[in-house]
Structure formats: structure tokens, C-alpha cells
Symmetry: C3
Subunit: 92 residues, 3 copies
């Protein structure tokens, strides 16, 4: 959890995300030809499209994983909330 | 958890969502100019597009937050499951 | 958790998903006309679009639920990670 929390705080501190949500998960994946079980933390971040590439590069540079999962999808919804995300991440 | 659970039950009871899933999370966000840490509950709801605005307004009116995160994205998949979501939320 | 974990491992073992993340959740839904509360496991899987139908049918055949939630949405992001998902699930 410590690495995930530090990473999330760093991204929010750098205005690359408006917020970070940490989910404790168990996981299963194939690595090096074997199916392995692990305990991980999934971090859900809210940001604007324009900041995703910089967020992705920052996660890559700070993350201990060789191949961290950094994926995104579009959301819509409550306009004032989306405006807050935009305000928090549009700062340079 | 109590507020999230009450909110989720209310939304399902009013046919604004077919189901509610509650995830306990830790979170980090900037509020009032400071980066704060919190413990929250992320609620994942399944509904139809036509009901989202009413769901959003209901969350806003019931939620204790000044600016609750109410966002959505489209899903596809198992047709019978999606039909069940539609059946449960299409009731008036 | 046991059923979810077995299902996730089976899907990864069959190359229907590159990885499975298990989230312990509480849930509320209407079933048989009543609003019921439950404890469940939400499984988040990464796969390619071309494998979703087979993944869905496999979940349906292995899952104990009459109507399991098997839904999907598109993601984009870190290219090397997406390539890994494609490599792991493109194997026959």
C-alpha cells in the first residue's frame, strides 16, 4: 500500500490528477510463463485527457513495476465535479 | 460505510439503479488548497442511460458532500444481464 | 472469494484474460422482487475485444449465478502494457 499511496499523493501534488482512490486487491496474472498470485493496490485517478500522457510517463518513471498497468477511459457526468477535476489538473 | 449503503439502497429501491456495489477505499485529493487523505466508499451502480440524470440529481440531494463524484461510462456485454438492468430501472 | 479466484485463474490459464483483479465488495440489488444485501467479489479482467465473447461464455458456463454480471468497456493507455495484454490473450 505504501508505494501506491506515495505514487497517488505525488500525482495529486503535481496536479496530474484531482484525486486518487486506492483499492486493495488480490490478483492473478501470467508472468514469465507462469500464472502467479499477488496482492496489489489498484489506484483509480481522475484527470483530464490532456494530462494523461504526462501522468502515464510519471507513473512509469516512479513505479517499481517493469510494466505497470496505466490505462484510461472517458467519463461524463456531474458537470460541477468534472469542472473541479479540470480546475485541479489544469494548473501548471 | 453507513451513508454509502443507505444511498445505494435508496437508489435501488427507487429503481434508479439495478444494483450497487460498495468498495472501501482510501483516497487522496486536494481540497481547500491542501492535499488531504481520507477513507471513503466508492459505489458502482448499474443503470440505463435514460435514468442517469435522475440518479445524479438524487445522489446530489442525498449526499453529504458538497461536490460528490457522480460519473458514468457506457458498458456492453452479456445481453441477458443488460436486459435485467434495463428491466429493473425502466420501472416507474 | 474462492469461486471468484478459481474463475479468475481459469480465465488467465486459458489465455482469455491477461490478468484478473479481485475486489471484495458489499452489494445491494433487487432479486425476486426484494432488495437484498450480499457480499460478493468483483473481478476486473483485461483482455482484447476479440476474446470477449469467449470470455463471457466461459464465465457463464463456470459461474454459479443464474445471471452473472459480465460487462466490458474499451480502454486505451500505456502501449507496452496493452501489447502485453494482447500478447497474453492472443495465444490459442
Amino acid at each position: 500500500m505504501d508505494e501506491a499511496r506515495m505514487l497517488g499523493k505525488e500525482l495529486v501534488s503535481r496536479n496530474l490528477a484531482a484525486c486518487a482512490n486506492f483499492h486493495r486487491i488480490d490478483s492473478v496474472y501470467r508472468w514469465g510463463g507462469k500464472v502467479v498470485e499477488d496482492q496489489e493496490v489498484a489506484v483509480v485517478l481522475k484527470t483530464i485527457s490532456e494530462r494523461f500522457d504526462e501522468l502515464k510517463e510519471t507513473v512509469r518513471s516512479l513505479h517499481s513495476y517493469e510494466l505497470p498497468c496505466v490505462v484510461c477511459w472517458d467519463i461524463s457526468g456531474y458537470e460541477e465535479y468534472l469542472q473541479w477535476v479540470s480546475d485541479e489538473t489544469g494548473k501548471l
